[in-house]
Amino acid sequence: MKLHLRPIFAPFLLSAAVLLSACAAQSPESRAAGEIFDPHENTNRSIHNFNRGVDRYAFRPASKGYVSVVPPDLVQAFNNFAVNISMPGQAVNLLLQGKPKQSGIALSRFVVNTIFGIGGLGDPSSDFNIAYIDTDFGETLHVWGVEEGAYVELPFYGPSTARDSVGVVVDFFTNPITFARQNPADNIGVYSEIVRRMGDRGTYSDTIDAILYESADSYAQARQIFLQNRRFQLGEAGAITEVDPFELDTEGF
């Protein structure tokens, strides 16, 4: 697979670097207390309202239609396809994280699922008990010691952090599939990712509706849930100090 870096890549890397350096830092004390660092809350809230509009009028109905028309097995198959096509990129990330063994697992997943899983629609790797892989450049940055940075909500994409938004951009432009000379279709990775997200939006409809449309402050809920889950994935959750249940004043409740 010959890599062919498009000239467009350079300005994106540059903007990623600017985004990283421009973000103000959170004090170590508030970070250790697991506090939320959201200096761009006003901008984020407008983007959140925009995203909610997109979801309500386009993404949610499209996704619900998609999962009601397309049988669950096929939704799962498209899901597998999107995950499989991201495996070479994940293998690169794992190498960058200094995990050559895991990187090999990602590559073998890609080979096995592409060959025995009809181009990645099936997931025979899981049947063969090959370990599950899920990483991204945001995690690579975390491994390299880059701080989480400010909370951001990205248009069309949703909750993220300064560190993860750089990751999203870099992952998009470094997936070897995107730059393969024999690319079967332009931006296949992006399209399959959108289809995968539609599948998730449709399948977990109740959960997402509860956050976006039934909570008193959907912005605060989404932010809270995203940050905790992301820190959990990256193994950062341990830094949060626990409240001792024996010290809370429960008198009267």
């Binding site: 669950p72 008193a216 402050d217 809270q224 249940p245 409740f253």
Partner: protein
């Protein structure tokens, strides 16, 4: 004589043993609590009752297995300090109903699924029971229960789903409901009763 002595000795040791058996929280009793919680939830789901009846069942289960006063106090956060005892009581009651409706409606997703206890460990004065949830059509995910005997009984006081702290999520929600009402606790409680 001998009989009476053994009898007294037996009674004495039984009296000594009884309170420890009832009070001591350990790994086994913590995971047993979560096991029977799971059994009760599965039983309710499998009963085929109407949704309204199911919510009442969940409210009972919630009351029986969880540290409801701790959960309510945590969810109210700092605002709890300025609440009157009548407000605290009303909030606690409204909050239990709200939790049963909110999470009860989601328990339908558990039909045909299962929760497996995978481990238990002591953290400071409480225990963490790790479980893995296997739901139909979803990849398995981690659910962790925190169990303490703070109240004198073994009860769970919080749970984490894939790292998401349930109580913290609810504190954010209650805080937002209070903000919407300009900090009026009574109005927030009235809203809570209507919220599904």
């Amino acid at each position: 004589m001998l009989n009476r002595r053994t009898f007294c000795l037996g009674l004495g040791s039984a009296m000594l043993a009884a309170p420890t058996a009832a009070l001591a929280l350990n790994e086994a009793s913590a995971s047993k609590l979560i096991d029977s919680l799971i059994t009760d939830i599965n039983k309710a789901i499998g009963s085929g009752k109407s949704e309204a009846a199911l919510f009442r069942d969940f409210e009972k289960i919630f009351k029986r297995y969880s540290d409801t006063s701790y959960i309510a106090a945590y969810a109210m956060g700092a605002d709890g300090r300025r609440a009157t005892s009548a407000q605290k009581k009303a909030f606690s009651k409204a909050f239990q109903g709200y939790m049963s409706r909110k999470y009860g409606s989601r328990f339908r997703e558990f039909i045909g699924g299962r929760l497996e206890v995978t481990g238990v460990k002591k953290v400071k004065k409480w225990y963490e029971v790790s479980t893995v949830a296997y739901l139909q059509g979803q990849s398995p995910f981690e659910v962790t229960f925190q169990v303490s005997d703070r109240s004198g009984k073994d009860l769970f006081f919080n749970m984490y789903i894939e790292g998401v702290n349930l109580l913290l999520t609810e504190r954010t929600e209650i805080g937002a409901m209070l903000d919407r009402r300009g900090g009026d606790i009574d109005a927030m409680i009235a809203d809570l009763k209507k919220t599904s």
